[in-house]
Structure formats: C-alpha cells, structure tokens
Subunit: 407 residues, 2 copies
Amino acid sequence: MNLQISIEKSKPCEADLMESGSVGIVKTRYYTFAHPPDEMTLESGRRLGPITLAYETYGRLNSTRSNAILIFHALSGDAHVAGRHHRTDPKPGWWDNMVGPGKAFDTDRYLIICANVIGGCSGSTGPSSIDPKTGKPYGLRFPMVTIKDMVRAQKELLDHLGISQLTAVAGGSMAGMQALQWAVTYPESAAFCIPIATAARQSPQNIAFHEVGRRAIMSDPNWRHGDYYGKEPPVDGLAIARMIGHITYLSDTTLRLKFGRRLQQNQKLSFSLEPEFQVESYIHHKGEAFTKRFDANSYLYISKAIDYFDISSGFGSLEAALRISKSKFLVISFTSDWLYPPSESEELVRALRAANKEVVYYEMPSTYGHDAFLVEGEKMSRIISYYLAHAQEEKLGDFQIGTQPLS
Amino acid sequence: MNLQISIEKSKPCEADLMESGSVGIVKTRYYTFAHPPDEMTLESGRRLGPITLAYETYGRLNSTRSNAILIFHALSGDAHVAGRHHRTDPKPGWWDNMVGPGKAFDTDRYLIICANVIGGCSGSTGPSSIDPKTGKPYGLRFPMVTIKDMVRAQKELLDHLGISQLTAVAGGSMAGMQALQWAVTYPESAAFCIPIATAARQSPQNIAFHEVGRRAIMSDPNWRHGDYYGKEPPVDGLAIARMIGHITYLSDTTLRLKFGRRLQQNQKLSFSLEPEFQVESYIHHKGEAFTKRFDANSYLYISKAIDYFDISSGFGSLEAALRISKSKFLVISFTSDWLYPPSESEELVRALRAANKEVVYYEMPSTYGHDAFLVEGEKMSRIISYYLAHAQEEKLGDFQIGTQPLS
C-alpha cells in the first residue's frame, strides 16, 4: 500500500522530456476513512464521515520514511500542486514552480504530499459531496469545519501512508495557517514548519472582506440556502466573492503596472455601465473563470474556516500555543502583501521567539501583493532550498543577512 | 434673491442654544436651471435638463460677495453639511465638526455653500428623478455624469447666487476631486483649493473595488436594469456595494481597535453562516442602513464619475492641467488612508509644485483610514483655520514645520 506513492515518478513520460524540472504526468488519488460509526468529531462537536481526501504525491519516500513534506493549499487551491494530469493539460499544478526535481521542494530528495481540504470541492468531502444518510449533496447540512479539522483529516491520510515523521509542513495563505496548526497539533511530527504570507490569526479586516463575499453568494437567489446542486448555481454571487478576493490578492502596484487606467483596447470612454477600464474586465474575467471550477458552498465553508483561525485559541496567547511545537520555523512574508502584511508575520515571529523556538524570518521584497506566494517561485526557492539543505545541521542565525530586520 | 442665503443664520433658535458652535436649524433649498431647450451638454455629449440642485448655505455673504467657500460632498454625502433640519433631528450634517461658528469653515467669517451633486439622490437631479420627457424616473436613461459635469452644475448655482469669486473650494475624497476640478475648470474663481484625502486621478485598485460594488447591484434581480422605482429596490446588491466601500474607508488599525476578533456579545462560536464576529455585524449594519437612505442607481452613476476622474485628462499631464489654475493649494492626506493613500496626495503635490503653484501639504497622522477626513475634525480644523487665516497675506513656507516631509 505504501509503496504506491512513488510509482508515478518512476515512469518517465513525454511531459518529463518536454518540461525540465517537471514532475511529469501525475494522478490524483483518494483515501476514505472515518466510516460510520467511527466518524471524525469536528471542533464544532458535530461528526463527519465517511471522509474522502483527494491527494497527490510527487517524488519517492526514502527507506526510513522520513523525507516527506506535506504541502497545504490555500482557499481556492486543490491537491494538484505540480505536474499535469494529461499530456494535453493546458496548465500544470498551482505550485509547479516550487515542486519538482531541483526545485525548492525537490522531488529528487523529498516525497511531496498535498491533499484537498475537507470542505473543498476538488475530490475531498465537502458540501457538494453526497451525504450517505440522504443520498443527496450535503449543502448546508455539511458541518462547519476549521483549520484544525482540516489538518486532523490530513493526519489520517499520513497515518494511512505510513508516514509518522515529516521533514516539513509548508504553505502560503490559508495553507500557512494549516502548517502552523500542524506544528501545534502534532508538535513532534514535523522537523520544519514553513508558513508563508500568512498570520497566526485572521484579522478583522480579512473577516470583513470574507463576509461580504459570503453575503454576495447567499444573496444570489440561485443559492437557494445551499441546495442548488443539479440546478443553476449562484454564479453571480460566487463571481462577486472572487472579485473581492482577487483585488485583495493583488497589490496596488501590480494593478498600476498591469492595467493603470487604460481603457479596453485603448478605446475612448463609452460612458456606460459596461466595464470600460481594463482592470474591470480583468476582475470580471477572474470572477467568471472561478465559477467554472469552484463550488459556492465550499467557498462559504472554507472562508469561514479561515476566519475562525486563531492559533492561540484555547491557549490564552500565541506564545503559549506555539511553545508546544517542536518544529523549527521559516516564516516568509512579502513587502507588498496587504492581506497578510509583514506586520502579521512579525507578530508570529515575535511569539515564536518568545516561546524559544528557532525561527528564521524573511520579509521578501515583492510588488505582487499576496499573490507573491504563488508567483515569486524563484525568490522563494532560493530561500527554501537553502533552508531545507542547511537547517537540519546548524543554527541558521546568519541566514537572515540581507533580510528586513524585525523591529 | 441673493440676500436669502443669509436669512437662516440670523434667527437664533433652540438648537443654537443647545449646541455651541452649531449653525443651528437649517433648510435645504433648490435651484432649477438648464430648462429645455437650453439643456446642459455633458462631457459624454448627452444633454441634461432641467437640472435641480439641492443646496444649503451657512453664514452670511459679505458686502463684496467674496467670502464664500464652496464645500463639495463625497460619494454618499449630500448638501446637508452642518446643523440640523429640525429640533429633533437625531444627527447633524455630515461635516458639522468642520462647519460652524469658530470652526475650520467659520460661519462667522464665511458663507459656506454645499450642493448635492447631479446624479445624486438627495434633492438634485439624478437617475431617481422624474424624466420630464416620460413622466417616469430616469433610471438608466439618465446620462452618465462626470466630476467636471458636477462642478459645472454647481457653477450655475453660484452664478444664480451672484457669487463669482470664492475664498475657497474644499472637500474630501470625491469632494476633493471636485475641488481640484473646480480649480482647473474655473481657474480664476477660487483663491484657495483644499483637496483632502483624495487623488488627482482614481487608481485602478479603487476602480476595481467600485466595479465589484456595481456588479453586486446589477446582479441583484430587483435591480431590473435600473427600473425598480415603485417596486422592491435592489437592497441586497446595494448593501454589498456599501459593505465593500465601508471596509475600504476604514483602516486595519481601526478594525483591530474597534472589533478585533471579538464575537457577538462575547459568545462562543456558533459554527454557522450567520455573522459571528462583531466586525461582521458592523458591516452588515452599515450596508443595510445605507440602503434606507441611498438610491442604487445613484451609487452606480456617482461611482462611475469617480472612476472617470483624471484631472490630467485632455492635458497630457497632471502638471499641464494644474498649471492653468490660479488657486493656492492646501493638500491634506492621512497616514492610514489606504483608499487614497498619502502617496497619491504626494503625486498631486509634486505636480502642483512642478506647475509652480503655491502649495502646502500636510500628511496628517491618523489611525482612522480614509474616514479620517470625516472624523479628524479637530486636527483638520487647526490646519485649515490657520491656513485660511494666514494664506491670504503671506507665503506659508514655514507652515509645513511638523508635517511629514514630501519625499
């Protein structure tokens, strides 16, 4: 059973030859657990089961089963981190610039694992899944999940794969929250924790932006209190939620450089309510494209899980929560990220240091805003490769040379 | 006709006695012009008429008719700047902290005038007004208006009031855009121009936020392509637009101080899709309250007017546009304003200086975000009072002592 996780990589294929540094053609797998009556009890107290997790792996597990890195995904992500599903797949996985032979998460050295979160809509059990009790999609009968519930489900998957010790847990945005949660919930399990472009708790501003998006979905008459499966889905509401999100993922600088005040096809103003500026068409396009691949109820549930996130919850302080972890930490933020600004990473780093954790902090110069965690592959790779190569042997105090000092 | 504008202030009333520094009980007046066939030709080339402007005045015009200050209002504002309409009026006008005896815009010295913009819904002609051609509300048959159209309409009002020379034009946010536009379109008419918390042109990020709000309104089935008058209006869409706007008006700091991650009534998480955090209830309340006082079509039209704004349009550069003006400028920004950040005021100030204009710039420390232009009355008053008192006699180079240097 465990050996299956290295099969795909061992067959070179056309994509391998075409794309140097690619993991090649990959396949999503599925693991189902928590079969009734042994459902998983969630933080809310409600029970969920059976639970299926969709997951992908890249690279090979070493003989001591100790070289795995668990990568988490962000709000709209999925298990498909790297490679392509088919030869004609137009796009590779969402972190293909970070995962592959010779890349930051080097599949020549590590086995990389990523699973779609519970509550999601890309193969794992979520509100669009069939509730075995009714034979119909859960809709709002799906229980609310938290970041902790998400990582607990993924721990079940690792147990299934026979992996008890991880080299690292890593991820950006909501995925960074999962990495932090993992380091606290399973304190002995990951040598390194790499939270990127994230925070130790969701800020009220971000909660507010999420709530407007949720309101847009729930105000869409097609939402039908979540029971829209098999009918016209609430695409208008979901597009609006995504448009709001998308603005917060970019920086003012990106928008100025990419669009400025340019009009569509450089035409004159039409003085109409149609999109006239390029930036308007862009966010419309992003909103509409999202509705073709994402479930509106999953957006509600996952955004709620993010809003609930506060690693200090139940501990009284960030320091008290983080003290539990035995991981070493590499914290990365981006200068132009205003959704999870460097100040929030600094708060996390201060708490980690107060808890006597070994922590390296890197505030990365970037103009890409929050999206930097997806697009600054080259810069992140240099840092993460070096960190993973050296952190096991030595203290990395000097590693901070050239980074922004933490006030 | 002209004398009427000082009548109200000359009758002390109960409110005067109750509220020191108040202009007391005030009345909205109306002026109608551009009667067909002499409609006003708008920037779009379309014609609008008749046009009614709702306006209020506070203070008295001096014998040389030269002490008037024209104050503009922002997106959701109206002509009711100061005082109360009735003794039992629960709230005074929106800039009551700035306009009154002894205040920044001192009604003992100046006659203050403010008119509701065209396109608005508070007494001036807008999409909810009756189109005399059809006897029905304009809806989308109302022509698109621009900031320049707004100030041109207000110039008609000033001509009607017999005021050709203003002491100052002033305003925050969209009102600052009108002040700048006035200074360029009527270059000889205002001695001082005071744009606050604004920009020389709307940024792509702000256009994007506006466009999401418009999309929310236009996706609401009750919007009915703008023909909802007499029926259920698109309150869900308008509330969402306002919620987005409201988040952008506040600062992250304000939200942290005011709400943090506190739950409603400090209860436990309910794990539901209802608002659970105080910040969620707050923006819901703000969104819903707005729908009771504002017209959704006016929101579409006025937000478009803001998006169109670029004072350099037709001139090739900011400097070339601003060079025309004969006004002196006092530019004020707020450190925590991320909707119209200090960097945008700095761009304006650089262009003004390049155009050899006399300009004083003050970057005001504030945690209130964009809303600072409404709530930092005391700080703004000190600056504006001093400026208006001294700028007529002397160069104000030393005035910048204690302000943030302009990089």
